[in-house]
């Protein structure tokens, strides 16, 4: 890859926003599994696999699965954040593959938050 100039970096910033902000991208859902050491130790890799299997089985193409670092509340890992267009983001805690399956089917496919597994909705920092 050629080195970026200042302008190219700025352009890249605009483009990159589409891949992390739902409203600016061309996908309708995003699942972020928190893969810090704490999450991995608590079994987060199995959660990634489960979401991946569900995603493939569902044939959905407008939902992305991504990973991120520790979400802070290490005692409630594994955690995942689910964002769907027109719904507030939801943080799910203490996940198991079974819970992940249900979240995929009810929240991602069915647009209904699985209240029993959710820690909270919205963003952490207000706004």
């Amino acid at each position: 890859m050629p080195k970026l100039t200042l302008d190219e970096l700025r352009k890249k910033r605009e483009d990159a926003r589409k891949s992390i902000y739902l409203r600016e991208g061309d996908f309708t859902g995003k699942i972020t599994v928190h893969l810090g050491t704490c999450g991995i130790a608590a079994g987060a890799r199995a959660i990634v696999s489960t979401f991946l299997e569900e995603l493939e089985a569902s044939g959905l193409t407008n939902v992305v699965l991504t990973t991120s670092g520790c979400a802070g509340l290490c005692s409630r890992e594994p955690m995942a954040t689910v964002e769907m267009l027109d719904l507030p983001p939801v943080k799910y805690v203490e996940l198991t593959p079974e819970k992940a399956k249900r979240i995929f089917r009810e929240h991602i496919v069915g647009s209904t938050i699985v209240a029993g597994y959710a820690l909270g909705i919205g963003s952490e920092t207000g706004g």
């Binding site: 890249k12 050491t37 802070g72 955690m79």
Partner: protein
Amino acid sequence: MAARRIELMLCSGTGCVAGGSFRIKKALEEEIARRDLQGEVSIVSTGCNGFCGQGPLMVVEPEGILYGWLDPEEIPSLVQEHFLKGRPVKKLMFVPREKKEPVPLLRDIPFFKKQTLTVLRNKGLIDPERIDDYIARDGYVALETVLTSMQPEEVIEQIRKSGLRGRGGAGFPTGVKWKVCRNEPRTPKYIICNCDEGDPGAYMDRSVFESDPQSVIEGQTIAAYAIGASHGYIYVRSEYPLAIKRMQIALQQAREYGLLGENILGSAFSFDLEIREGSGAFVCGEETSLIHSIEGKSPEPRQRPPFPAQVGLWGCPTVINNVETLANVPVIINRGADWFSGIGTETSKGTKIFSLVGKINNTGLIEVPMGMKLREIIYEIGDGIPGNKKFKAVQTGGPSGGCIPASLMDLPIDYESLIQAGSMMGSGGMIVMDEDTCMVDVSKFYIQFTNDESCGKCSTCRDGSAALLEVLTRITNGEGRDGDIEFLEELGKAIKDASMCGLGTSLPNPVLSTIRYFRDEYEAHIKQKRCPAVVCRGIISSPCQYMCPLHTDVPAYLTLIARGQFKEALEVVRRTNPLPIICGRVCMAHCTTKCRSKEGGDAIAVRELKRFLTDWELASGELPESAPFPRKYDEKVAIIGSGPAGLTAAYYLAEKGYAVTVFEKFPVAGGMLALAIPDYRLPKKLLQMEIDVIRDAGVDIKTNSPVEDVGAVFHEGYRAVLIAVGAHKNRKLEIPGEDAEGVIDPLTVLRKVNLGEEVPALGNRVGIIGGGNTAVDAARTALRLGSKEVVIFYRRTRPEMPAIPEDVEAAFEEGVKIEYLVAPTRVVAEHGRLKGVEFIRTKLGEPDASGRKRPVPIEGSEFVVELDSLLPAVSQDTEIPAGFGVEVTKGNAVKVNNETLMTNRDGVFACGDAVTLPTDVTSAMAEARNAAELIHKYLRGEEVKREYALITPSIRVEPIELESEITDTTRPLMPRIPAERRKGNFDEVELGYIKEVAMREAARCLRCDWEVQKMRERAREQEIGVEA
């Protein structure tokens, strides 16, 4: 009809019949017959229970457990588990549907609400392995700004103005460090990121690498630009594989984009970074050792100055910054120095990341503004201590830091106040400790760590830490000596003074700060051979034996029960307890408070098992032989009061060979056992049997014999007197109107009932104030006497009630109601006669210095309850006649020297309620045993002084071999007679365990003592081996 232990209320409503309740009934009858339980369990068909959707249904009385969706096939196992083994079957129990509550907003959850995300701004939001994600969230904007519009000096000035200080722990101003390096004329210069995070319990830096590595690269690049470095290192410990991997990916991606390398973003500035993996020596976190490590030398510190900013890596000017410091840099550039310095305190600006770990509900990584109070971190962000335990201290700064006690909960967390408190910021580990943490053990842990990690260069650090460790190990083994504390303090200061690097100069901090705040704990270990937190294995053989005031060898007798050796088990009990029948019924069971079986299950039912033994003995008719102890000495001893303290002291003095006379002012012996505890808990007949044992041992008990004048007793030829009177005087509520007619002393009621005298009429509506055993007994007695509505008013909540929990349950079954969080404010009277009581609602407020939440009245929440009588049972006092001639406290307790139990009057001793005010049976008995020992010393002319010794097993009992692992961790229910059969009589409520239940429960003991016994045996063998 004989009382059946269990009643099954089987619903025969239409719904349940349709669901098959007749088949259930048949299956139950068959199984009960097969198990030969007809005498124990009866089946009652009831009308519709109302929960038709869960049918067929059955309620098990007296526990009130509801089983739903019953299936005939499940009945055999249900009968076996619940009725035979006493373990309710959870999977068949009806569970109320979980309440549907709306999902809260994340920002309303205190854990998130109180945080200020600066360094952790991208936490959980970006993919750390995609540089584009970082860029999309304004990544590298700061580098753009710096490279296009700022001179290096301007960057340094911004950082200096912001007030940013090193986040590695020491807190040196970052801008100053950069400036020193910038001003050095020599080149090349280096910038090093220190990610050698080694404090136990700290993982902030690892997490930043794992979740946002680009922020560190950007910060380090800006730092390089500012100081004029073209090459940098990232020093990270090799135990962080994920952090290293993500950083490698991040570096690769930054290079591909030209954000590292030649002519970054088309500017003249070139810079690149490489990773150096440290091998995990703690000292490498120290900057000069870290430099040696990168240079390939052995990681030992060197003397400073010159500082690395002047002479660093390869002899060149070098800045070493912590991960978090560097990650702050882009934010300061983007948002300005003023914005940053607006956060935090006068001297400590910005935010700090802490890893909040230990005994705290929310474990995790938090970022808070500097100056936040410890209280907010522990109780709001951390959501308090698990299991409602007391918060004791928080350890900050790892092995270099110290412990901050709960009394400093309002301390603002910044660099200076932590130092003042004897700790330090350190890299940000925050280990929360609860009441179950021993501070001496904690300080031993840290010294063990630093002793392992000392590089060995300075003898003060190398040998000093070893000397500290040796003394701490002795203390935690119960072998501490006078002067140990002073030695630790002196040596600690010397190590601080004479060591070269931060490791040595700070390693005594954990010891010095715990001595500063918890000196009494050190003293308890050294002088009394006690570990107040019940932790040190060198002192505590088993928590049960240790916690029992009598130090009864619980593990030994439990194992003997599990083996069916009941006689031998009871012999072990009697070694330390002359009143096992009584204690098997009314003991507070201190032994269970720290039982290790509570971790993931119930404590072993020790009191119930002791009762089983005495039940077995009574049933077997094999009562132990009793004969008077032989007289060895001429001296006579007088004991005033025949309660548990008086009886116990009398027994042990008789055993020693003295003539003992007990003077009791009431017509019956037994003190509070006979007068305050109703028959339904402790039948008179059984109490009498045990008093007879004491009598048979040769003790003369004179009832109806009040003592008013101790001088007269000496005159009769007694050589020593023990005051062991009970607390019979009810304490007043100190509220207006309490002298009204209808406000009745609960102890008088209990006493009259116990003596068979006429009891004042209580009326239909009875109110009780208090939460102890007297309150609960007053309530249960009122119901038995015919009152219709009995309510206990208690100012705290159920977990805080001091009454025996099983008795509170029994009270509920009988219909006693409890109003929590209320306190009486005045008695409402008419013509001098009680009409009702005004209460105010309370809430549990802020925890006090001890960490317990105190009840605080809620203004304007007063309400009046109409009552026919009020029984205030908040506490009791003793009445010490002036004729005793002994000094008393303000609360009218006898003053004694705690080491001798002697009063100000020669030869007059005191113990039990008389000294401590209302205490419990076993505590009173334990002090009485000590009193007997001290009186013996007094009479023999020896020095009267309490002796402290390690508590050790009394007998060697091998653990049982289990046929299969015990997976059930619950204790069996105590069978009780059904609630409706308890009305109008004082029959004993608890029925006791059957043999099978008792043996199975005893087998559940974990035998904590065994490991310690084996350890000591091995140590002894080794000793002998060496000598041979």
